[in-house]
């Protein structure tokens, strides 16, 4: 128990922003000597470690680098510098329903999403009843996803993600989509996940929610960790700096 699941050491991430907008061969040929690429340092040396069973929340203003941090953990990006080490299977919930194809049915999308998250088709087959039941989609599961409301897509996405036996759940502000009942169900599921030894890293602007479920809070400001400590302590400091943050 209590082994380190996520380890970030001196992680930096720099993005190149093109001012001209569209990349094309013409601009490449015409402007190759004076291409205007602005550099944007989003993360400037972040150290973070999360141990098994912990629930860590990342807070901070828009543009502080929270989503970039989660994307690095989900292996969407490679860090420009530093190291990211992850032990265990990750289920990223960066945007519910992002991996769905609108023309395929809910059922077909469950297979598709499940396989991306690392299950075999047999494993998905075995869990299919639970996934469908949790999503509360009923008969709609056979209809194309484009006919779903955003709430229905969110339910399906969450349902798949929590049933893939991930050891680490990475959640980016996505629980606010469903209705009240479903939200409660999600939190119940998250509790269950944690009791089973699962690790969670989440980003949220809802400070009350953060205080409720996080053991530890990391305050990110302009790409640097300002404070890393207990939830009450860090949230209080964050509010003290600017009461408008709430």
């Amino acid at each position: 128990m209590n082994k380190t699941m996520i380890e970030m050491k001196g992680v930096r991430k720099t993005f190149l922003l093109s001012k001209s907008g569209i990349a094309s061969i013409k601009t490449l040929l015409l402007w190759w000597k004076r291409r205007e690429l602005a550099k944007l340092d989003v993360l400037k040396g972040v150290d973070l470690s999360v141990r098994q069973g912990e629930c860590v929340a990342v807070i901070g203003k828009n543009g502080a680098g929270k989503s970039t941090l989660l994307s690095l953990l989900a292996r969407i990006y490679k860090p420009s510098d530093g190291e990211v080490t992850i032990h265990g299977r990750v289920a990223p919930l960066l945007e519910l329903g992002a991996g769905f194809h609108p023309d395929l049915s809910g059922l077909e999308n469950i297979y598709f999403n499940g396989v991306i998250l690392g299950l075999t088709r047999e494993q998905i087959q075995a869990r299919l009843p639970q996934i469908v039941e949790f999503s509360e989609l009923g008969d709609h599961i056979g209809a194309p996803v484009r006919t779903y409301s955003s709430g229905m897509q969110a339910r399906l996405g969450f349902s798949v993600a929590v049933h893939v036996d991930a050891e680490i759940l990475i959640v980016d502000e996505v629980l606010a989509v469903g209705d009240y009942n479903f939200e409660r169900k999600c939190f119940a599921k998250i509790d269950e996940f944690r009791k089973a030894g699962g690790t969670i890293l989440l980003v949220s602007h809802q400070l009350e929610l953060v205080k409720k479920i996080a053991d530890r809070v990391v305050w990110l400001k302009n790409g640097i960790v300002v404070q890393d400590g207990s939830a009450d302590e860090v949230v209080a400091a964050y509010l003290a700096e600017d009461p408008a943050n709430n």
Binding site: A23, S24, I76, P92, A98, H101, V115, I116
Partner: protein, 286 residues
Amino acid sequence: MLKELKELWGFRELLYVMVQRELRIRYKNSILGIFWSFLNPVVQVGVMTLVFGRILNIGVPSYSAYILASYLPFMFIQFCVLDSAQSVLASLPLIKKIYFPREILPLATVISNFIHLLIGFGVFFMFLLITFLRHPQVNPFQIGTLMLPALLLVSLMMAIGLGFLVSALNTFYEDVKYVAGIAMYLLFFLSPVMYFTEQVAATGANVESGNWLFRIYHLNPLAVLCTAYRKALLAPVDVPIRGAEVSPPVDLNPLYYVWLVVFSFGTMIFGYWFFNRVKWKFVERP
């Protein structure tokens, strides 16, 4: 590159599902569904038989079969190049949210097209059989047909390599798909699809150049590929040249086939290497 190959193997299940998805989506909202995959080559056979057998009447027995034997692999390469140009771009929203080896995207496009090629050849052989029943002198099965798996493998390697290159480049520079479209259009006429390699050899310009034009012409690996299929699958045939004359069948120099294999294998390796080099930049393209 070995590390990436190992990871790709770990995700083979996803590749399978992706191919299935591509095949399903293609005809998802159509009534005939997967039946279109059969109907397309059937219509192609019908049109070619009508045009070359009845209207143009070239004088080569079952001319349409000779056209199709080159047309099917050419179309396969063309569809692979044009489809894979969009394969990464179309999935950009997906790969911004979730990790999987990005190679799977162009690979799935190429493999689903490959399945359509196999269906096309299925129809092709049925057509040969029907021709055989009507004209028993046309043997539908050549000894060279045994080479078909090797030819398919070479085509697949070429398609995979080109798919990797085009999909990676087009993600950064969307002009690439237009360039590729024009290039494939030109190559269609620069490859012996609608005509025979013997006719190229017999042109006055080629004879004057001391056969050099013929050699340069075959630097185009697609030209070699088209002829390779034709020679392997169908009986050698006399081809009309310069109006009234007739050229006996000419075998291609084996060196051209070596070039084809080297090109295909090299393109696959280089494409895979290049794709892996830039794949992390897809989601960050400025």
